[in-house]
Structure formats: structure tokens, C-alpha cells
Amino acid sequence: MIRVQNLVKKFGAVTAVNDVSFEVAEGEIFAFLGPNGAGKTTTIKMLTTLLKPTSGAIELDGLNPEVKQNEVRRRFGIVFQDPSLDGDLTAEENMEIHGVLYHVPHKARRQRTEALLKQFELWDRRKDQVKKFSGGMKRRLEIARGFLHTPKILFLDEPTLGLDPQSRNQLWTHVKKVNEAEKVTVFLTTHYMDEADRVAHRVGVIDHGKLVAQGTPQQIKEQTKTETLEEAFLALTGSTIRDESAGSADQMRQFAKMWQGGRR
């Protein structure tokens, strides 16, 4: 479903993604793991048509995202690291805009909106403005929205960041359910190794732009002779702390937090 070959992305002199190759099969849940600044988000951006690769080949459902941009876009749903809902609109309206933008016919849109909001336990709150939602509810709504146009692939970029264990647990249960029911391929990134261990069929570990290991969680643990995925992860990527310089996005994030009184 996803095929990546010798993918490279350079920003000036910095190589963010360096010769990465992997494949994700249909219906699989693939976790992309790596420390901060390892190149996870850059890879997702290239897979989802937001960035053009410097070199290398990408295929999503047999299509090249650079050439067949709109057709590729119809085939995937994405939940970004930062929330991308409109807080002034209601849950239902957020779903409606998404449906219209993805050319989902009116009737199917309403049926699927109802089914998904019920499944993600948001149906009772569908007429509430999203800004009144908790972090977990917003996340669930974003995931439900990502499924609305029946995508073949769902990208989740650190979807559980800042959520409490209950919300995280519930979120993954939902994702697994839809993955099984609709055979959607899921490509996710997370910093919580226990989640990856529990949810993912296979994982890939990226560090300094290079893919350093891939396989089932079990294989990775055996390969590194460790007990848990977290230990394996540390064995693979070392324990030095990566201090990313705060970019404008981080500053804005802080500003937004201040502004919203830490509601999310």
C-alpha cells in the first residue's frame, strides 16, 4: 500500500531524511518511531503531498504523490501533530466541511458522519463547538474525520501527544477497530513505545534521517536482545537527548497555549 525507495529530503545543507526505504502492506498498522528531529514528520509530509522529496520514489496505492496529487489525496486521511479542527464550528460542521472538500456525496456524508461520530462516542456532542471539547475528544473527532471519506491509508502523527492514559487507550481501541472493520492501512508515529508495541503490526525506527531497524516489535526486541520496545529503542538510538532549536512553530504553540488558557 505504501512503498518508499531511497527517499531523501534536504533542507539546504541539512539532510532531514537520508536514504530511507520501507514498505507497508495493505491493512497493516505500521509505527514509525524515532527521537525528536529524526525525520518522522518530514517523511509524513512527503508521503502526504505537503513536501516534495529531494530524491527517491514514493508510491501510495500504486500512485506517485508528486504526479497524481489529487488522486493520492483522496486515498488517505491524516491527523496532524497540531490540531487542525475549526474550534468555532461544531463537530458536525467540521465533518461536513471535510466531506465536501473530499467530494463525499451528500447522503453518504450524513450516514458516515453519524456512524463515525457514534463509534467515536461524539454523537451526543455533535452540535457543540469544538473549542469546548477536551483534548481527547478533539483527537477522536480528528480521527473520525480522517475516516470520513473511506481512505485506504490513515496517517497519524503523534496522535496521543498530551492525552491522559484513558484517552490514549480509548483512542487506540477505536483505531484498531476501524483498521479491522474497514481494512484501512495505518501509518503512525508516537513517542510512547508501549503503544507502538501494543498496536503496531510492524515498526520502523528512524534516527538522524536514517532507518536503523524495521520489523515486528518482537523481531526488534530479539535483534537488540532487550525485553521491551522502549529498551530496544534506546539501544538503537542511544540515550543522548536531542535538543531541537525552538522554531517558529514551537513559539506559536506556546503562544497558543497561553492564549487558550491551556485548554489543550
Binding site: K45, S84, L85, E93, I97
Partner: protein, 250 residues
Amino acid sequence: MSAIYILWLRELKRYTRSRVQLLASLGQPLLYLLVLGFGLGPVFQRAGQGNYLQFVAPGVIGMTVLFSSIFSGLGLLWDRQFGFLKETLVAPVPRLQIMIGRTLGGAMVAVLQGLLVTVVCVIAGFRPVHLINVPLALGFMLLIATVFAGLGVAVGSSLQDMQGFQLIMNFMVMPIFFLSGALFPLDGLPKVLKAATMVDPLSYGIDGMRSVLLGTPPGHYGAATDCEVLLAVALLFIVIGAWRFSKIEI
């Protein structure tokens, strides 16, 4: 087309829902209208220019439309890191449609805000001389709104974060307002100031509104010229805005 419509509708819904913001945005026009309108009234009268409140009301309406439309465009900056923009950029819809939906929505909101201030002006004592021309004034509001919503999107797409906001406010929005002749007549100005007012698109919008509402024919430039200039600038800004918007990388 449905994408343009739904994004247009979104702007409208957001506007009608934020009541506090709606009220807050009335503060500044009210200050200009009431304090300047009544404060400078006697001086204006003595200079033989007639009723200042009548004169300044179209300027205050124009100002409202300017601020509202340009801010809706700059709202992109906010949406860019934290919101909805990414959702629209990965959708299987040409970016041009997204930009146009946004711009038209922002323009629509600015016109509504302008109408609201018009009502406030009438309550304060403003009387259009030719009531029959009110729809024409509405047309000018729409033109002003489109021009500056386009400019807002162009600038909003080019900036990385909110840091540039103050800069834009002080060196773009305020000069556009002050040089537009919203507060003073354009006749008999010093050369440099005259030249500056001539390159300011808003001065044509306000001149247009004045000539249709107050019947000061032919106005300073003439309503027909005003309309042509605004149409041309609107087109230009939308093209630039669309081009800048197509270049956004996140």
C-alpha cells in the same frame, strides 16, 4: 465550486458566532465617528466644508471594511500553524479554489461589518443624501473588501508567523487608512501627500462611497474612475494572493 461555497460559508459562520469579537470591532469605528465626528465638526464647519460627521461617516465605514477584510486574510497566519489550513491543503481540491473561497468569505464578512457600522453611523446622525444610491455604496464596500481580503491573503501567505503582524499593522494597514482621505478632504494637499493618497487603493473606495452617498459629484476622482481602479486592483491582488497561496509549504 462546492469547496468555494463551503469555505465561504465557514467564514460567515465564524463571524456570526463570535459575538464578543463583533462588539469589540465596533469600538474603534465608534471612537473615530463620535470623537472625531463631533470633535472636529466645528473647525470643519468654520473652514466652510460643511458637516464633518457627514463627511467622515463614509471614511469610517471604509475603515471598518479595510480592517475586517485585511485581518480575515491575515487569519491565515494563525490557521497555518494551528488550525484548519493544513486540513484544507491536503484535501483533493485545487488551492486556487481554497484561496478564492477564503477571500470571498472574508470579503463578505467585511461587508457585513461595514453595514453594521453604517447603521451605527445613521444612528449617530449620518444621513445619506441619495438614499437610492445605498446599493451603489454597498457595491463599493464589496470592492474595498475584495481588494483588501486579497491583499491580506497575499501577505498572510508570505509571512511565517505572527512576529510580522505588528510590522504589517504599523507599516501597511495604518498607512492605508490614514492616506485614504477617510478623515480629510483630498483637495489641495501638498504634493507628496497627494501622490501617496493616489497610490492608496482605499482612497478610491472611500471617494466612491462619498460620491454616491453624499452626492458630491463628481467626487474627487469620480465614481466611475473609483470603480475601475478598484476592480483592477482587486484583480491584481487576487492574482498575487493566489500565487503566494500556492507557494505555501507547511
